[in-house]
């Protein structure tokens, strides 16, 4: 089945078959990452601009490496040195980048919906690298890629997402991806950060960690995002940790072969204890590596590449 999308804006808009196409394409690129020379010519001659208007380290570097492994030229945009700090609008900034002959923009922005907005005003593909508390599609794709690597088919698998759900774009994208792939998703955390509204997205909402973790195949932890919270949503980090932090005891409540995930950056000792983060059950660093392959797949497909072409050996 050919790939038709020009942009990758959300997981919500993807059909299950499209998610499968991206994951299959990523699997091919993942094999490339194990080679001595981790580079393919797929996007040679293309220029990709990472327009990161919100601080980011791992996602920006991951996209940059993905572009470079595809042989694209890549320019990463530093928000603090950009014209946006002089009052230039997102439209003008992006249109100038397009006029400079960029072939694709990877956008990270603090405002939800901004990639959709940009996709309407530009003629080149836009890839969402995280928009506000809305979506972070490539993170969800790398998460389900990693889960499938470890667990196989996700149908009926119990995935618990624990932490600051309200302000998490990762949670939203993962909810969409996991429910489309047939997983059984429970979100858990304090009621102020895990409101009942999420039930409308097809997940179970729980504030009881013990019940939620029982029989989980995956525990995905999320960072407490103080920077997005206008007012305090819980009394203190100490109380959060005492109620919802994943420690050795609580980690024993999940299945023995369950995996522990985290999109990073980790607050050690807050949402997760170090002995769990560094345990064999943790796949946190595999997520990071897989992120490159997934982003290679997304850049490749949005640039016009087709899944079946990459599935033939890329030399």
């Amino acid at each position: 089945m050919p790939w038709h999308r020009k942009h990758l804006l959300t997981i919500e808009e993807l059909k299950r078959a499209e998610i499968e196409q991206i994951l299959a394409t990523a699997a091919a690129f993942r094999r490339v990452l194990d080679r001595k020379v981790k580079k393919v010519p797929a996007l040679r001659g293309k220029t990709i601009v990472n327009l990161f208007l919100e601080p980011s380290t791992r996602t920006r570097i991951s996209f940059e490496m993905a572009a470079k492994f595809l042989s694209a030229d890549v320019i990463s945009f530093d928000a603090s040195a950009s014209s946006t700090t002089k009052g230039e609008t997102l439209r003008d900034t992006a249109q100038n980048i397009q006029a400079l002959n960029a072939d694709m923009i990877v956008l990270r922005h603090a405002a939800s919906g901004s990639p959709l907005y940009l996709s309407k005003v530009l003629g080149i593909p836009v890839v969402n690298a995280g928009d506000g508390a809305h979506e972070h599609p490539t993170q969800a794709l790398l998460d389900v890629f990693t889960m499938r690597e470890k667990l196989g088919d996700l149908k009926g698998r119990k995935v618990v997402i624990l932490g600051d759900i309200l302000f998490s774009r990762v949670a939203r994208s993962n909810i969409h991806a996991l429910t489309k792939l047939g997983a059984d998703v429970t979100i858990v955390g304090p009621s102020t950060l895990v409101p009942h509204w999420f039930e409308s997205m097809g997940v179970r909402v729980s504030h009881n960690l013990r019940t939620a973790l029982a029989d989980a195949d995956v525990v995905m932890l999320l960072r407490i995002q103080h920077e997005r919270q206008g007012v305090s949503h819980f009394p203190s980090l100490g109380e959060y940790t005492s109620m919802f932090g994943l420690n050795y005891t609580r980690a024993s409540w999940v299945k023995p072969d369950a995996i522990i995930m985290h999109p990073g950056p980790i607050n050690r000792g807050v949402e997760i204890d170090s002995d769990i983060a560094d345990s064999p059950r943790s796949v946190i660093l595999q997520q990071v590596t897989n992120g490159i392959a997934v982003r290679m797949a997304v850049l490749y497909l949005c640039a016009g590449g087709q899944p079946e072409q990459v599935l033939t050996p890329v030399e």
Binding site: L90, P195, W197, G230
Partner: protein, 429 residues
């Protein structure tokens, strides 16, 4: 000024319980029972066959941006938009730049408004600078000519200050208009809090933040006897609070906007900033409750909250775009569609909500065709479908969710003080 005879129309004047085919006579800027033979001979005749003839519409909630933000709207362009929408009386909000917290600014607005094609009444601020800290000079503002007091988009947060404000303003016969919003619950909020905001990842504005202030104002009105008018009610619970308050005989009134009866939060699915407003569009339950409130008299009138913004201000990321839409030129067809066509209101009921009942809230001399009253008239074709295009319209701004939509119900003629100011798409003054 020649006398006018408006013939053959369906004349609807809820204030005088008139709804029948007939004629309307105007002489010397006022409605009269009939004209003398000499007047008839010289009178200009408007044939309103197939049209509705009603009092000029009244809107007690508009923003004309002058002084200070005339790139968005001026008193003149706003008034022209009003006339094109069938409005003959408008009350403009004081959140101009500078804000209307002194008699001098009132005088400036009145001097500019004197040349406007419709009656423009200014309001003054409740607090100095609309900062919610100290009372503005209500007495001086009243002497200068304001018809009400409001901090508009900046709801007075201090209960004690609001208590003193309503008590003090009552001495001058001034009503307080309040935008009901507990700001501590809505910091950085950009849409209704609920299922849609959760999905879109946008900060939610819970209806409880409106309900709390509506309840506060009802309590303060009961305690002081002062009149408080709740602007643009958006929540079902607020409607319920108002219903009980009216049953209890408390001196409160409330308005609904065309956009809150036409749309729900679902309209924000694509982050279109033309649906970003404050208070935000809420759920279908809320929308139906507002319509129910208009039906049973819990909500007193329609107010457009006409809020012009320049295109470049709305053309940005949703979080950063300003709240508000224009509405004067679309209010009548939208209300005809939502209330008459879809909600089975009597046409005269809707006209009542947009004329007499709106005028009565602030005791404005408008909203009726009764002989002796100022001859303000709206003549419209309730069945004419037309394409609304903001670029051909009269407002200086184009921030309307109805842009390029086909609307049904079109204003043909607007008469202010006996003078035809707008007719068949043209401004005549």
């Amino acid at each position: 000024m020649p006398s006018l005879i408006i013939k053959n129309g369906r004349v609807i004047d809820p204030a005088s319980k008139r709804d029948a085919k007939g004629d309307v006579f105007i002489a010397d800027g006022k409605f009269v029972k009939t004209l003398t033979p000499a007047q008839k001979k010289q009178a200009k005749v408007i044939d309103a066959k197939g049209l509705v003839v009603c009092p000029g519409l009244v809107d007690i909630h508009v923003h004309f941006r002058e002084p200070g933000q005339t790139h968005k709207e001026t008193i003149l362009t706003g008034s022209q938009a009003a006339a094109a929408g069938g409005f003959t009386t408008v009350v403009c909000m004081p959140n101009t730049s500078p804000v209307v917290d002194n008699a001098g600014t009132v005088a400036l607005i009145k001097s500019v408004a004197a040349a406007a094609p419709v009656h423009v009444y200014p309001t003054g601020c409740i607090t100095v600078g609309m900062k919610g800290q100290a009372l503005a000079p209500h007495g001086s503002l009243q002497k200068a000519g304001v018809v009400a007091l409001t901090d508009d988009g900046l709801c007075v947060q201090s209960n004690e200050l609001m208590h003193r404000a309503v008590e003090y303003a009552k001495m001058f016969g001034l009503s307080i208009l309040d935008h009901c919003q507990d700001e501590s619950m809505t910091e950085k909020a950009v849409m209704n809090e609920g299922v849609v905001s959760t999905r879109l990842g946008l900060k939610g504005w819970p209806h409880a933040a409106e309900d709390i202030i509506v309840a506060r104002n009802i309590i303060l009105s009961r305690y002081t006897g002062a009149h408080i008018h709740m602007q643009h009610i958006s929540s079902a619970h607020s409607v319920e609070l108002m219903r009980q308050a009216k049953k209890d005989g408390i001196n409160v009134t409330a308005e609904a906007t065309p956009h809150h009866i036409a749309f729900t939060e679902d309209a924000l699915a694509t982050y279109d900033t033309h649906f970003k407003m404050n208070p935000p569009l809420r759920t279908e339950t809320d929308r139906l409750a507002i319509i129910g409130g208009l039906r049973d008299g819990t909500l007193d009138c329609i107010g457009t909250d006409h809020a012009p913004h320049a295109p470049e201000e709305k053309d940005k990321e949703f979080d950063y775009a300003p709240n508000g839409i224009i509405g004067l030129e679309t209010a009548l067809p939208v209300c005809l569609d939502i209330l008459v066509k879809k909600s089975k209101f009597q046409l005269s009921h809707v006209i009542d909500l947009m004329t007499r009942k709106a005028a009565d809230i602030l005791k404005l001399p408008a909203g009726t065709l009764t002989p002796g009253a100022c001859a303000d008239v709206c003549i419209f074709d309730p069945g004419e479908a037309w394409l609304y295009n903001t670029y051909g319209a009269f407002s200086k701004s184009i921030n309307s969710p109805w842009d390029k939509q086909t609307l049904t119900g079109r204003v043909k003629t607007t008469i202010v003080s006996g003078q035809v100011v707008y007719q068949n798409g043209k401004m005549l003054v």
